[in-house]
């Protein structure tokens, strides 16, 4: 193990474990007004009237008429309103905010306000929608020829459901107007995203808006773009009130009205000749919900990943994101990848089964290798360690022996299965975003006393960034950790090093910090105040990515994974018991082993939830019914007691000490491993997740009824 991988006590361990850490809801509320949003109860309607009762002194209503700047939240496109305008487009669209000194009174007023709607027809399902927000298409090779020459053509549709982040700390924001500026702090991932959004909504220049991250209790992408909306609403309210305003979501409103993972419909048409896949024609539909928010980028990543870890030379991919009158979908760990990775892995698995070959052998015949073209005509510039990682997982869970044994017909009350899934996560922002939009700048400031301050916009939301950044500086400058300071980012003090997304922070910004520290190491002058800045430079080896042509290196490198899940189904109850979840992960050099293992374990667990436990149920009008943690089922400590992670290291030369993006990888491919296990146990074909206990029982009943 590299020295840097040796684990240390996390930099932010003590305030969190003693309860001293200040999350947004922990700030004193003296002199702060409480804000509560009133949400649309209709999936689509014209707003005819808003009837507000007489308000007691000190209470006010804030709506679109109070937005001093533009009533739109800057995300990618700017179609999300700060407050609803003439129409509401989903159950949960914020219409107004009530603000006042007593929280209970604010809630009473919200409940007393009457909205007069003229209901309009709403589209609630992807299949019914004809509003296409985004449409991408790309391909290569000779598709038609391959299909005409095929021995057999397979066609199948796969579906994935919504997934809710269920971070333990709900969304929250506090906006404080002062001296012609607006300061907003809260539970966030991307301070500069919010700064731009709030400035636009208030009609301020960016320098008049200060955004600060508070200690954040989990995010997983759910606090990437959504907080921009809440921040605009809270800032507008604070601007109108002339006083600080605080909005902290309760669990129900957070679960019902904040962004979720895009549901998907993927259709694969695959040509097979002489036992090999020769071509794929892939159609991907993502449900964007009512507004576009991050959907274009999620869809881009999803379709880029649609051929998985395989080298598919003849290819056509068509991706669409459609509008439905549901809560806008957004970022969630994996960011579009999990949906298509489920589909491609299941497709390969089904073809193998049909051909009578074990899926591992079949998949391995198609694996991409170093030098192969990626789906979008880029290249795998670095080794693809999947074959070795398959052996690692095989060893740790006796995969091949169990696969053979469980593949035989089973009788008895308990049925077993085991499945494996191969996947990657493209490390870094998709395409040329890093070069053209983000243009990251990282800074270190050494004060005269020899203390080094790390200045980036990247946020620690539990993934250990404060610790890993500190370790990089410490190593490069040979400093003890207590001489290095890293605060929660504040836009008044840190440069824009880009958002904390796409598993880019350590790989891109960490490397900028390392270079800055390396420079400081050479230029160090005792007793002097020094500032070193590093700017992102796109690696030379990249085939530049063009969004228009949808061609090039979508990512500089990839983090790789092999996951296996073993299950046992109780035919009496339909319940499945996860006997073991295993994964081998290559995220380059771990900058801290415990931190990386912790990320992989957490990601695997979320993947298990996504596979079968976590289901968002909506009624006929699209209203989410399970809006509580008692009802939206995430794993407890007793659900997956056997969880094992192997760290496989393939160093990435352009990442700090060889590190690559790590945060998202683990969750991306887990469901296909679980579903393959369930297919084996039940002797059936499965095409959707979550594959619940009810789904299992339906299959069992069909067998019984035969």
């Amino acid at each position: 193990m590299d020295k840097i991988s040796e684990s240390i006590t996390r930099i932010d361990h003590t305030p969190k474990i003693t309860g001293a850490a200040m999350y947004v809801a922990d700030y004193p509320t003296v002199g702060v007004l409480f804000g509560k949003l009133l949400y649309s109860s209709k999936p689509r309607a014209r707003l005819l009237d808003v009837i507000v009762p007489e308000l007691p002194e000190g209470y006010l209503v804030v709506d679109r008429n109070d937005v001093p700047g533009e009533n739109s939240v800057h995300i990618v496109l700017d179609d999300t309103p700060v407050f609803a305008c003439e129409t509401v487009e989903y159950i949960g669209e914020p219409i107004l905010m009530v603000v006042g000194p007593d929280e209970k009174e604010v809630l009473r007023i919200v409940n007393a306000i009457k909205i007069v709607y003229e209901e309009l027809p709403a589209i609630l399902s992807m299949r019914e929608s004809d509003v296409v927000f985004f449409n991408y298409e790309f391909g290569k090779g000779e598709l038609d020829k391959s299909f005409s020459e095929a021995d057999k053509i397979y066609e199948e549709e796969f579906r994935t459901g919504r997934q809710e982040h269920a971070y333990l700390e709900t969304q929250g924001m506090i906006a404080e107007p002062h001296d012609g500026r607006m300061t907003v702090h809260g539970s966030i991932q991307c301070p500069y995203y919010i700064q731009r959004a709030v400035a636009k909504a208030l009609g301020y220049d960016a320098g008049s808006v200060q955004i600060r991250q508070d200690v954040t209790g989990g995010a997983f992408g759910g606090k990437e773009a959504f907080p921009s909306i809440l921040a605009c609403q809270t800032a507008v309210a604070a601007h109108k009130a002339g006083r600080p305003v605080r909005v902290v979501f309760d669990r129900e409103e957070d679960m019902e009205y904040t962004s979720k993972r895009h549901p998907s419909l993927c259709t694969y048409r695959v040509a097979v000749k002489d036992g090999m896949v020769t071509a794929m024609d892939i159609d991907v539909i993502y449900d964007a919900g009512a507004y576009t928010t991050l959907t274009p980028v999620v869809l881009q990543r999803g379709i880029i990943c649609s051929t998985g870890v395989y080298n598919i030379v003849n290819l056509h991919v068509h991706g669409r994101a459609v509008k439905t009158n549901t809560v806008p979908s957004g970022a969630f760990r994996g960011f579009g990848g999990p949906q298509t990775f489920f589909a491609i892995e299941m497709m390969m698995q089904h073809i193998a089964k049909d051909m009578g070959i074990d899926s591992i052998t079949f998949k391995q015949k198609h694996l991409a290798v170093l030098g192969d073209q990626t789906s979008t005509g880029g290249r795998y510039h670095f080794p693809v360690p999947i074959p070795v990682m398959i052996e690692e997982v095989d060893k740790v869970c006796d995969f091949r022996r169990k696969y053979k044994e469980y593949s035989k017909p089973q009788t008895g009350r308990y049925l077993r299965g085991i499945g494996m899934s191969l996947y990657f996560h493209g490390a870094g922002f998709t395409g040329s975003g890093e070069r053209d939009f983000i243009k990251a700048v990282a800074r270190i400031h050494k004060t005269a006393d020899g203390t080094v301050h790390i200045l980036t916009a990247n946020t620690d939301m539990g993934q250990g960034l404060k610790t890993t950044f500190t370790k990089i500086i410490a190593k490069e400058l040979d400093l003890p950790y207590n001489r290095i300071i890293i605060e929660n980012p504040d836009t008044d003090f840190v440069p824009d090093s880009g958002p904390t997304v796409a598993s880019r922070s350590l790989m891109i910004v960490g490397e900028l910090l390392r270079r800055a520290a390396a420079r400081l190491s050479v230029e160090w002058k005792d007793g002097e105040d020094q500032i070193i800045e590093e700017h992102f430079q796109e690696p030379d080896f990249l085939v530049p990515f063009s969004l228009e042509d949808f061609h090039g290196d979508a990512y500089p490198t990839y983090a790789w994974a092999v996951a296996a899940v073993e299950t046992e189904v109780d035919t009496v109850t339909g319940l499945s018991n996860v006997l073991g979840t295993y994964g081998s992960f290559d995220v380059g050099t771990p900058i801290d082993m415990n931190i990386v293992v912790g990320q992989m374990e957490g990601g695997l667990m979320q993947g298990i939830g996504y596979a079968f436990m976590e289901q968002i149920s909506a009624d006929a009008k699209g209203r989410i019914r399970n809006n509580k943690l008692s009802d939206y089922i995430i794993p407890t400590s007793m659900d997956v007691p056997n969880l094992e992670v192997i760290i496989h290291v393939e160093k990435y030369p352009l990442g700090p000490y060889g590190a690559k993006g790590a945060g998202e990888l683990a969750v991306v491919g887990v469901p296909a491993a679980y579903v393959e296990a369930m297919e084996m146990a039940l002797g059936t074909k499965i095409d959707h997740i979550p594959f619940t206990a009810e789904d299992t029982m339906k299959v069992l009943q069909e067998v019984v009824n035969k």
Binding site: R413, T573, L575, I633, P635, M638, D639, A693, E694, M697
Partner: protein
Amino acid sequence: MVNSYLAGSLKEALEIRARETVRPYGGGTDLMIEGAEDAVYLFIGKIPELKQIIVDDTYIRIGAECTFTEIIDNDLIPEMLKNACSGIGGPAIRNLGTVGGNIANGSPKADSALIFFVTDSMLRLVSTRGERLLPVREFYLGKKKTALQSDELIAEVLLPRADYKNYYYKKIGARNAQAISRVSFAGLMTFSDGRIASCATAFGSVSDVIIRRDDIDAIMTGKTIAEASAAKSAYIAAYDEAIIPISGRISAEYRKAVCMNLLVDFLESNGI
């Protein structure tokens, strides 16, 4: 604003209960999920007379304010009831939640109530007017409706002393802990001289009220294993007709399938 009431003794509690409109508050784990701002509670969770576990000639008497943890930790409690209580919520819920609350809630999902149904337990209800014994089955009147009078409290659950060693209990939830029951089943069977001396079953979470059909269970009484096996299909058919699950977010089909599977498994585990 009317405040809530603290009661140091059962007598004091009953006097307040008779006089005021209050919600009896034991562990609070149900009441506080709503936590209504204007709720007027009568706090009875610490009253010593309601927290005893005693065995007399006929019953194991469980104080209504005994928490699930206290029940699990007590040697006088049969394994079957401990098992059911162990599956409720998580440790913190079990530490506060009480059997009295579990029953008074009137929910067919109540895990401990299922055991009280299958064991044909009694409830001792008390008020300033006196006390009465009521079979737990008669306490449940329909969906979340109970026979508890507005001046009454549940003082004790009376679990008949019997042989509960040969029990079958299964709770189907959405995960391995902190799971509200989607289907639950309890079965008891005793034998004497090669014949079934008693057979009792109860199905929870599938209907508005826990299903207890001792008339159907009577099919098994007095039979040898061979005779019982012969009667098995009639027995199952009778339950197939009797169990009409309500549909909620979990489908009626799923609940029905699991109920019948558990019933069959219960029989088969007894050699039938």
